[in-house]
């Protein structure tokens, strides 16, 4: 786990490819959608999630057990990937995995804000990012938002949070703080990427992700009709939108849909956009965006077989798998039918 030495993509790609083979496929998902929570837990025990289910089985049960096992497995897998990588490869992977740091910071802030129990916050953290256990412990022990910001003082989140804190004190809502965390993450995500061909493709993928995130935000805002300034939610770095074009397009949903349809992502998102126009279903559109990103990730991993891209492709697929299993478990808990749950899954 270091940024020193020469990059070793061969080693990491070999391990990641082996693990990719054990991800759940269509067949497993179909089985899972027909199981109850306890059966899902047992099914997971016999798969690559066995260690986590066994470790947590005595303390939790039901859907919670599944959820915590998923989080812990995700954290362990991604930590291992960071552990294996060396040199510039480490930097490229850590760049993406820092999103879990951002997630953890937001979870802790929300926990402090709602006076949640320390333990309740702890199980929701995903320790896959760069923060070590000591910092996470200190974050959990902080009893005020000011204290959380103090712990983060020497990280990239310290300064933006400090600036947003004044606004938080004025308004009393968390939005400025959460936006500050997100923006700090996305700013670091795209800055100073190297110049070789796989890295450029990685950058293109990250840009697509930023574009998609902007598009969903804009669509949500446009549909909710709320009187919020769309520019405040704009994330820099994408190709598709600028701050002003997003602000203008979010006023008019038809124009926005047309704009996305005409962009370079039009081919992939076309069917979902038509559905959005006809059925007015934002959920279908968001799923289509997820599926398009996943397909993008799959393709990304095959062009340069020995580089950072297959690793990122695996990280995406793994993330998607945990989200799918979570959706199945939660759907079962809520009593949805297998068909309904299947429509919630994102499978390529």
């Amino acid at each position: 786990m270091s940024a020193a030495g020469s990059p070793n993509p061969e080693y990491v790609v070999a391990r990641v490819r082996a693990r990719r083979g054990s991800l759940f496929g269509d067949e497993e998902y179909r089985k899972l959608t027909r199981m109850g929570p306890a059966e899902i837990a047992r099914f997971m025990e016999e798969s690559s999630y066995g260690a986590e289910i066994n470790a947590l089985g005595s303390r939790h049960g039901g859907v919670d057990l599944i959820e915590y096992a998923l989080n812990r497995n995700l954290a362990e897998q991604f930590d291992a990937i960071l552990d294996w990588s060396e040199g510039s490869l480490y930097g490229l992977i850590a760049r993406y995995l820092r999103k879990f740091d951002a997630w953890n910071v937001k979870t802790v802030i929300r926990g402090v804000y709602t006076d949640a129990e320390q333990e309740a916050v702890e199980v929701d953290l995903i320790r896959a990012g760069e923060f070590d256990d000591r910092r996470i412990r200190r974050l959990l022990e902080a009893d005020s938002i000011d204290g959380v910001i103090e712990v983060l003082e020497d990280t990239i989140y310290g300064e933006p949070l400090r600036e947003a804190y004044a606004e938080f004190e004025e308004t009393g809502v968390l939005v400025p703080l959460e936006n500050a965390v997100d923006r700090a993450f996305y700013e670091r995500l795209l800055s100073g990427l190297g110049g070789d061909e796989p890295t450029r493709q990685y950058e293109a993928f990250l840009k697509a992700e930023v574009d998609f995130r902007n598009a969903t935000n804009a669509l949500r805002l446009a549909r909710s009709g709320a009187d919020i300034d769309p520019a405040a939610y704009f994330i820099e770095g994408g190709d598709l939108f600028t701050r002003s074009s997003l602000a203008r397009l979010a006023q008019n949903i038809d124009e926005l849909v047309e704009y996305i349809g005409d962009s370079q992502y039009g081919d992939e998102l076309g069917p979902a956009l038509r559905e959005l126009e006809e059925a007015d279903s934002l959920i279908a559109f968001e799923h289509a965006i997820d599926a398009a990103l996943l397909a993008y990730g799959d393709r990304l991993g095959t062009i340069h077989p020995v580089s950072v891209t297959p690793i990122i492709s695996y990280i995406l697929a793994k993330e998607r798998e945990t989200e799918n299993i979570r959706a199945i478990a939660r759907g079962k808990e809520a009593g949805l039918s297998p068909d309904e749950i299947e429509s919630e899954l994102v499978i390529t």
């Binding site: 061969e10 080693y11 990491v12 790609v13 070999a14 391990r15 490819r17 082996a18 020995v306």
Partner: protein, 84 residues
């Protein structure tokens, strides 16, 4: 860069240096081939170890693939026998 190499070559040829000696050239060929094989094995070896760490059954396949570039050194050894 290339001009310099050319000049160096001319100089070596005109003074009848050691590089024009067939045995020395053959030795150099083997050495360079071994260097290339070593570089190829570096990548294959680390990938093989990675695959083995995930699945022990891959040991034999990994070993075979790792030493495959070694053949280039054996082929280069043929040069030694032809020249010598």
């Amino acid at each position: 860069m290339f001009e310099a190499t050319n000049e160096l070559g001319n100089l070596v040829l005109s003074t009848g240096g050691t590089l024009t000696d067939p045995n020395a050239a053959a030795a150099l060929a083997v050495g360079l081939a071994a260097l290339g094989a070593g570089y190829a094995e570096r990548g294959i070896g680390s990938a093989a170890v990675g695959a083995m760490a995930e699945d022990d059954d891959l040991f034999v396949n990994g070993l075979i693939l790792t030493v495959l570039p070694e053949t280039i050194v054996i082929l280069a050894l043929v040069v030694v026998f032809i020249v010598g």
